[in-house]
Amino acid sequence: MGIFGDIRSYLGEAWEVWNRFWFKPTDPATLSLIRVLAGALLFYTHLVWTFDLQAFIGPEGWLPVEYLRNHLQVTEQLDGTLTPIWSVWSVFFWIEQPWAVWCVHILALVVFFCLMVGQFSRISSVLGFLLAVSYAQRVSPGAFWGLDKVNCMMALYLMLGPCGARYSLDRLWRLRRGDTSEAPASATANLAIRLLQMQLCIIYLFSGLAKMQGENWQAGTAVWWAVANFEYQSIDMTWLAGYPALVALATHVTVFWESFYIALIWNRFMLPITLWIAVAVHGGIALFMGMITFGLAMIFANLSFVSPSTVRRWVDPLADRVALKLSGDG
């Protein structure tokens, strides 16, 4: 076999590996668990808008829609004029009446609740993504932050696979109709999980690279400046002032973990360590810096690296108990 044969053989093997990576059917347990958790987070995130809906989302709020569209979400034309970017979209850009904003908001809460409990999962996942993006675009810029990015990312990939195949009311209704067959392995469940994993790797890579440019991240003091921020603080961590080595260790671990996550997470020996560091980092952000929702969102996204068999070992007993209660047999 000559060089062309070797190349052909290599490409054939690469194509097989590529196909297995992206398209091999997998148990939808992991995707279903992410649906439950991301659905709950989406529901809570949007429920909180209810406290001041018109101010943030309404047409004449903190930043009126007209100002947002004509001054902030704009692109410069060749003649120097600024025009709104057509691809930046939100249903709230077309709604002028406050009562209509409330109608959409109530619909959105119903959709996110359906997504969480797995009712009409296919439809609620598509509507959930469209609504999540609508809210995020309405407050970008203005009041958006990392939580909106991660929420929309999870909603995007939940649309692609059978996210209601397990741990859902859809499944419970199927069981009650006498359909006791197992949730089938699904190629689209694998595709959705893989895309979520890839985006998570990209997020950490660029977050790590950006931190590497920061002098305080290089010097090992950045964690201090984060915990010494009164507006973020939820638990007083200023006692760290007396432990500069601990601050430096936490700073350097964060930078290296984020930068090399993209490589470490694919190694089966490093996978659990990398994931537990994710829990520690994001759990710390949630507990000490008051960003509970964002910390949870990142931990939920990291669950995409937990195998379906592990998810089933942890979640199935609880899900079975809930199913028995709901069906009145428990």
Binding site: W18, W22, F23, K24, P25, T26, D27, V48, D52, A55, E60, W62, L63, Y67, H71, I85, S87, W89, A132, V133, Q137, A143, G146, K149, C152, S181, E182, P184, A185, S186, A187, L195, M198, Q199, I202, I203, F206, S207, A210, K211, Q213, G214, E215, A222, W224, W225, A228, N229, F230, E231, Y232, Q233, T238, A241, G242, V247, G290, I292, P308, R312
Partner: protein, 248 residues
């Protein structure tokens, strides 16, 4: 049923159903896919692969383009001012070297990224953590009572996520320009029915040495005034009255 079976179970059981057994052989000609085998026709997989590559490239390009900046050639010295000091190099100066690849790719994917809400960076406290911004406001209502408030403020904004949204409002004023602060003033004026005055401040951070000396991180002295904005009525555009040391 074993766990192994759960994970690799094919889309349908390999056992033909009763109904399938009664079908003519011609209709059962299509062989069942073995457990775990990659589904779909190769042509479908090729198309999907192209879409996957395009999507992942787009997801990569967004933070890449946002994190790369134009650079001057090594050793480049711009024109000097009357005192012999280097002047600021204007953005349109031909010496600037643009990051062509990320910018071109970003332009190509920008509408797709916007539609899917993927068009952003992921800096998260980078390049360096800094002090947060705070907005204090005063609204004088028609009966003379004065409504005062601040955002973010844990006592006024609850739950924590709503507080965080208000923190972002104050924070992103820096990037949007002071005009955004004028819209905040207009909003508060409409809400409370009277003229509103806003003050934007930055909350400076204390070093470990300061804290060890006993200074408090919420000491009023750690808040530094940046600018103020005033709104006269709900129909009148707010006007900026002072921007000492303003960042915009």
């Amino acid at each position: 049923m074993s766990k192994k079976r759960h994970e690799n179970q094919p889309a349908r059981s390999d056992e033909p159903s009763k109904a399938e057994k009664t079908q003519p052989a011609k209709k059962r000609a299509k062989p069942k896919r073995p457990a775990g085998e990659v589904p779909w026709h190769p042509a479908v997989r090729v198309i999907l692969s192209v879409l996957v590559i395009l999507h992942v490239t787009a997801v990569f390009v967004a933070p890449w383009a946002l994190s790369t900046k134009p650079a001057l050639p090594p050793g480049f010295v711009g024109p000097l001012d009357a005192n012999g000091q280097p002047q600021m190099i204007p953005n349109n100066h031909p010496a600037w070297q643009m990051p062509v690849v990320p910018q071109t790719l970003h332009k190509a994917f920008s509408h797709y990224l916007n539609l899917a809400y993927l068009n952003h960076g992921y800096e998260f406290f980078a390049p360096d953590p800094s002090g947060t911004h705070v907005i204090d406001y005063q609204v004088t209502q028609p009966d003379g009572t004065v409504v005062e408030g601040r955002f973010p403020d844990l006592e006024q904004q609850w739950p924590r996520l709503l507080y965080h949204r208000h923190m972002m409002l104050a924070e992103q004023t820096q990037r949007m320009g002071l005009e955004s602060g004028q819209h905040y003033a207009d909003h508060l004026a409409r809400l409370h029915g009277g003229p509103c005055r806003l003050e934007l401040s930055v909350h400076l951070l204390l070093s470990p040495a300061d804290v060890l000396e006993g200074k408090e991180i919420d000491d009023p002295k750690t808040y530094q005034f940046i600018a103020s904005v005033e709104s006269q009525s709900e129909n009148q555009a707010a006007e900026t009255i002072a921007i000492p040391g303003g960042t915009q």
